[in-house]
Symmetry: C2
């Protein structure tokens, strides 16, 4: 969001507040559909509905759907007739139209498909046959192809027959008569080589085709690592299916990043910030429930030491410090591990090294802050032994935090559970339980 865009958005909000709908419509007509999507996403439900109705009255706003986020798009389409949705999506790129349908409830998606003309339905169903999180679901089927045995001169004449090339065309795909992928003719090579040469002489045959089953995560890493603009999607038998372009990959990268961020709080990256209250409350309730269960677990552990707490109330005052420091230190290790795993840097051969390092870091920082906490506690409660006990408990908990922060994500991954989603909950459960147990346990032994 640029400063410019912020200004524009603010002006649009102003026009809407002033009910200057005529001017608003004009202003929206001059904007890129991506910006119109931004505007819709920044509106509460009732206003969003109002603006969407205005947009629908005009033509050419359907591209907004390609740019709006999942939940926002659903909120726009939920009350529309299947035929109307089919008409709206008719001018979208095949992959964008498929995305719209994939986000819908199955029943609604079927109705919309049934309302489309047959040719388009068949083509969309082809894209839909691949999972949304695979290369097949990401690909676009509009591809310019050429054959190996023609000259660049012929290719140049063929291109001039077009009024424009498909978006993000940095290469023409070279195929044989059976539509089998042979290589890529980069525009930069087409333009720098003699027109008399054959495509076969100039094409790059080392371009790696992407299988349609490859996960979008892998596709994004390949694009990022190789600095690609586009890449061909080719079936196992060599048949060329389509191509993936960097703009869609950028969306994958952004979505993945948002997913890691949002799932830490038990949220979904598709969530609409302006979703109705009840929907949001329902989406968030489960996460609170899970965390409540872990909080009760910690409370239960504290409950074992009621007799101790009754005698030394200072323990109740200090115990959250031990638990909280463990949670913070463990989260640091966990975050580093999850990132290292996502980037593929954590492997069997270096896990032991990492765990030893994290334990050493936990030991050093544990020692430093244990001394501080111990001193403060001793002075505060005029009890030297209490200081020694909280320092020891802190040390124990920070070592456990280092161990848990390293092992929990590895364990969760082995169990096929997303560490970004569950890692934090499991970790803080461990650091709470260990923190309370070690502190209150040591106190029971040495202070009573």
């Amino acid at each position: 969001m640029t400063v410019l865009q912020q200004d524009i958005l603010a002006q649009l909000h102003q026009l809407l507040d002033d009910s200057a709908l005529q001017q608003l419509t004009t202003a929206l007509g001059t904007l890129h559909p991506g910006h119109v999507a931004d505007f819709l996403e920044s509106l509460p439900p009732d206003k969003r509905e109002q603006v969407w109705a205005i947009l629908l009255a005009d033509e050419g706003f359907e591209k907004v759907l390609a740019y709006a986020e999942g939940d926002v798009r659903l909120s726009l389409l939920q009350d529309m007739a299947p035929a109307a949705v089919a008409e709206l999506t008719a001018n979208l790129d095949m992959d964008d139209a498929a995305d719209v349908l994939q986000d819908m409830p199955d029943k609604q998606a079927e109705d919309v498909l049934a309302a489309m003309d047959e040719q388009r339905r068949i083509r969309i169903e082809k894209v839909l046959s691949y999972q949304q999180d695979t290369a097949g679901g990401l690909m676009d089927t509009s591809v310019l192809t050429v054959r190996t045995d023609v000259t660049l001169e012929t290719v140049l004449r063929y291109l001039r027959l077009h009024t424009e090339l498909p978006d993000k065309t940095d290469m023409l795909l070279v195929i044989d008569r059976d539509n089998h992928f042979q290589g890529a003719l980069f525009l930069s090579r087409l333009l720098t080589h003699s027109p008399d040469l054959l495509v076969a002489d100039v094409m790059s045959s080392h371009v790696e085709p992407i299988p349609p089953e490859m996960s979008t995560h892998h596709v994004a890493n390949l694009f990022e690592q190789r600095d690609w603009i586009s890449a061909p999607v080719v079936r196992g038998d060599g048949y060329l299916l389509g191509r993936i372009t960097i703009d869609d990959v950028v969306d994958v990268i952004r979505d993945e990043a948002e997913h890691s961020l949002m799932s830490r709080a038990g949220l979904d990256e598709d969530d609409d910030i302006f979703a109705p209250t009840f929907l949001t409350a329902r989406q968030r309730a489960l996460w609170l429930g899970i965390n409540l269960a872990t909080a009760f677990l910690a409370a239960w552990v504290i409950g074992w030491f009621e007799a101790t707490l009754e005698q030394i109330v200072a323990l109740a005052v200090l115990m959250p410090i031990v638990a909280s420091m463990g949670g913070i230190a463990g989260t640091q290790t966990l975050t580093v591990m999850i990132r290292g795993m996502a980037l593929g840097k954590v492997m069997d051969t270096n896990t032991m090294w990492l765990m030893r390092k994290e334990l050493a870091v936990g030991f050093i920082n544990g020692a430093i802050w244990a001394v501080v906490v111990g001193l403060v506690a001793s002075v505060w409660f005029h009890n030297m032994m209490l200081g020694v006990i909280i320092a020891s408990a802190l040390m124990v908990n920070l070592l456990f935090a280092a161990l848990s922060g390293t092992l929990i994500p590895l364990l969760l991954k082995r169990l096929s559970i997303d560490p970004a989603l569950a890692g934090g909950v499991v970790l803080t459960t461990v650091t709470d339980v260990v923190g309370f147990f070690s502190f209150l346990g040591l106190a029971t032994i040495f202070l009573l």
Copy 2:
């Protein structure tokens, strides 16, 4: 990181473990420099040094520096002589070489610059004159330019004089005789129009030039929103400085995402997972110290109620539940707000709507879980009033959490403090203090 890459990495690790250095060198020679960087990043310090020494003995591995992360790059270069670093970076793109220098300690960077040949030094200093987080710091100065008054035929002949075009060239930049930006000639238009036409007739003059001062955050949003491959960087007076390409923008997007994620735990996205123990311990210690201060604040609040806790020890058992649920609920709101703000969707005109909504969500989920917690507490401690009190305290804390989750990021932003970094600490301090205070305070009033 693809499955393929994971396999390759595992094999490389194996070769290194077996000390099959000859084979390792051969294997590394066949890899993309991005993969070699991945391999280096997945090695503990001593092994990393060993492999880097092997790489340095050969030629052509300097591109690895363009792909390695900041801290990793520094660890590779720290013991090298300035002249050696100057030689290594001599073949890097101007923007990559500038990045390497910008990450170095000032003294070392100056020495390296002094060791470069003059022409390159002047060009790099030009890039260095812009902040690393601006368009100027991101741009590359290798640009193909054409003039308005020539025919496409001439342009095509001119291009054939090159053996290749600069990477990611999707447009030629059109300038006048004073190097002032006039527009862009997209390759796709060059290829689809008659060679007899003039550049002036075919060029796009609505291409938005980027000012060198624009932040990389804004640049990335523009690229993402407009689906650009490259964009010209133009000074205020119209002088063409260079261009920004999508591959560098993808890095910005990835870095931003990592920054949000890592800064939640007080970490830096440039941190090296295999950094030496002491460096890591130092990097993390401050964050633990800050959190310790907030933990003491919470303990101090609990301390006010020592007399109450002495009489009813059940309060000590249950109080972490109230604090923890507030923290979880508040983090959900905070995460949604920070994301909404980053995407530019939170504005003055809708802040009130959002706050009311978050309060309503807090009320609903507060009510649901308050009943559960209240019932469990009543049964557990056979004290109905205790259940009512914890339910009320939970309700109060969840409403405060909603309010804080909404207002804290807005306030921090106004104070120019990164909400992703500080938001969580401030929020949990509020929810801890309010949680303990409301629960123990209500108990003091109604149970004593």
